[in-house]
């Protein structure tokens, strides 16, 4: 794989290359771990355990999908973006506009359209924005999102402006499963299946050679240039896929809530998903899950009763995480697990 000589390369050494510990780890990297079905079992159990909280559960699943899309761009490829809600909103408005004006409202194909529209915006903006890094990139993503938000606000004859598009009618999935706003069972299962498919896509990407090169770009962009990796195209591709996933999340949000408004495009939403991802741990597949559950459950119960205390606590939590726990909740769990394992061995 590389020019570095490992112990197994020396003549007379018994191990062949593929038997080396590092090689075995690399080969088995994408295998399903024993604990990986647990979140999905929990999600299904939730469906039966909390039938009266399914609306909250649906929001949670959509947020996970959105955070997962951000993880691909920010966590794996290291694209510093504070404007990911641009794609969420693009997806939401695609579904919303098509349904509201009676052009097209079939749920599954609408989601595909939402993904396509978000991907086109991602590709177009990625082509120009991803030449830059750091603060400039941050500003450009922020401005792109603000541009879309202002655009949606200005085109109020189409988008309803500040008030958004209320009461969308979404037909049943396959003509069978109806969206019931009071008992959102269909919405929950629908969101769960879409999330699962999105998750499979992200999982496949990050364990592919393409995903590996993304991590390489995040860790050392110069070196990736030097080994001849087409850095900018990789980043643009990753950004486009990530945008499409965020667009699907936005489309889902519009369908399950049956309305769209400007908050789907706001800095608030972009900052929240950023916080969720980093709270859970970025650059790891399940960070989005842990972060979204922790954040939404806390905010659901605390923010309603003590909104100011919630903001204060969240702020302190972010400061502490940035200073002491760079890898979020999962990072802490990881290092505790390692310490425990190391303590058991000798």
């Amino acid at each position: 794989m590389s020019a570095v000589t490992s112990p197994s390369d020396r003549p007379g050494h018994a191990l062949t290359r593929s038997e080396h510990a590092a090689a075995r780890m690399l080969i088995a990297r994408h295998h399903v771990r024993w604990w990986e079905p647990i979140p999905w079992i929990l999600a299904l159990a939730y469906f039966f355990a909390f039938p009266s909280y399914l609306g909250f559960g649906t929001d949670l699943l959509i947020t996970i999908l959105f955070a997962l899309s951000l993880d691909l761009a920010l966590g794996y490829a290291g694209i510093l973006t504070l404007g990911h809600a641009a794609f969420f909103g693009a997806g939401a408005y695609t579904v919303g506009l098509l349904a509201y004006h009676g052009i097209w409202s079939e749920p599954l194909t609408s989601l595909v359209l939402a993904a396509i529209v978000a991907a086109i915006i991602g590709l177009a903006s990625g082509l120009v924005l991803l030449r830059t890094t750091g603060l400039t990139l941050l500003m450009l993503t922020l401005c792109t999102m603000a541009l879309l938000e202002e655009g949606a606000n200005m085109a109020h004859e189409w988008t309803g402006g500040f008030d958004g598009l209320p009461s969308l009618t979404i037909p049943p999935i396959f003509g069978l499963f109806e969206f019931n706003p009071l008992y959102p069972r269909t919405q929950y299962i629908y969101a769960l299946i879409v999330l699962f498919l999105g998750f499979l896509v992200v999982r496949a990407i990050i364990y592919s050679p393409f995903g590996q090169s993304l991590t390489g770009i995040r860790e050392n962009m110069l070196r990736m240039h030097a080994v001849g990796s087409p850095v900018r195209w990789r980043l643009v591709t990753c950004y486009t896929i990530s945008a499409a996933l965020a667009g699907i999340a936005g489309g889902l949000w519009a369908q399950t809530n049956a309305y769209v408004n400007l908050t789907t495009l706001s800095l608030d939403r972009a900052a929240t998903v950023f916080i969720i991802l980093i709270l859970g741990g970025y650059g790891r597949l399940y960070g989005a899950f842990v972060g979204a559950v922790a954040y939404l459950v806390l905010s659901h119960f605390l923010a309603r009763v003590y909104p100011t205390a919630w903001q204060l606590g969240l702020g302190i939590l972010l400061v502490v995480i940035a200073l002491f726990a760079r890898n979020g909740v999962l990072g802490i769990a990881d290092s505790l697990w390692r310490r425990w394992q190391a303590g058991r061995k000798p």
Binding site: G151, T308, L318, A322
Partner: protein, 293 residues
């Protein structure tokens, strides 16, 4: 007719420039500290808000006069930011931008919640002192005294900062460090100390801007987030680590914003965002970066 038109243009320019001055006073510290350390400090708006609160509360509750209140706001904010810098910011200089963004967003939330808890969520009323209220006769037209005052203060600060930046030893050290940090360090410049000083000074300036601008920007807990995008736009358009660049960018954005709000009250800001994107694509390091790195 031409005379009326000319006065119209002049009054628009004056309004825009006075807004630009406040933008400049707030943003200049952000530009210099970002240029020095490459630290993405999203909490800068929170310092401006904090200082604004100190100034306005000192005037309204304690009856302190305008100028001493400004000085008080500057000093208190500078000290608070210095403590934060020494205790917390310092640890993140070598961390990635991601952690810096997260940390400073957290700090913004703490400031917003803290102000809401201590002072309350409502907008604080701000009254300029009697001498600065009303209209001032400029000879060819009359204009709001407070706006003229802001322009005068802004010009004084620009000149003062420019002299400090270009003509003093400290300024030379800052310029050297922005240009090439490693080289500056190996020449024996204490970059850590330099940064602490500029950070505290920049935050104090932000506090001044928060107080001076409270008249038209308002002052409520959401201030820290509401105007952050404007400060960041000014800094990235002007360029990091410059005084003059930030000045031109502030006046440009201030006048543009004023004109657009007047003629396109609905969604005029869209042009500012679009313009910023185009500018940054054309010159990623801003219009007036000190050196071409």
């Amino acid at each position: 007719l031409f005379v009326i038109f000319g006065i119209d243009v002049a009054s628009i320019l004056l309004g825009g420039i006075s807004a630009g001055m406040v933008l400049f006073i707030i943003s200049v510290g952000l530009s210099v500290t970002m240029g020095l350390m490459g630290f993405v400090n999203l909490a800068h708006g929170a310092f401006a808000m904090f200082g604004g609160y100190v100034i306005v509360l000192a005037m309204n509750e304690l009856g302190v006069a305008f100028v001493p209140a400004l000085a008080l706001g500057f000093i208190v904010t500078a000290i608070v930011s210095l403590v934060l810098e020494r205790l917390l910011y310092k640890r993140l200089y070598r961390a990635g931008e991601l952690d810096q963004v997260l940390f400073t967003i957290g700090l913004v939330f703490v400031f917003i919640a803290g102000v809401t808890l201590v002072v309350g969520p409502e907008t604080q009323p701000f009254q300029p002192p009697a001498a600065l209220r009303g209209q001032l006769d400029l000879g060819f037209m009359t204009y709001r005294t407070y706006s003229i005052f802001l322009i005068v203060v802004g010009v004084l600060i620009v000149v003062g900062l420019w002299l400090g930046f270009e003509r003093t030893r400290l300024g030379a050290q800052i310029r050297a460090t922005v240009d090439n940090r490693r080289m500056a360090e190996s020449l024996g410049i204490n970059v850590d100390r330099l940064f602490s000083i500029t950070f505290a000074f920049g935050s104090g300036m932000a506090a001044l801007g928060g107080g001076l601008g409270a008249e038209f920007l308002g002052l409520d807990p959401q201030y820290a987030l509401k105007y952050l995008v404007y400060f960041l736009i000014v800094v990235s358009v002007g360029g990091l680590g410059t005084v003059t660049g930030v000045f031109y960018a502030s006046v440009l954005i201030g006048v543009l914003d004023f004109v657009l709000k007047l003629y396109l009250p609905k969604g005029g800001t869209i042009f500012i965002f679009a313009l910023t994107i185009l500018l940054l694509l054309w010159r990623p390091h801003g219009l007036f970066k000190r050196t071409e790195a």
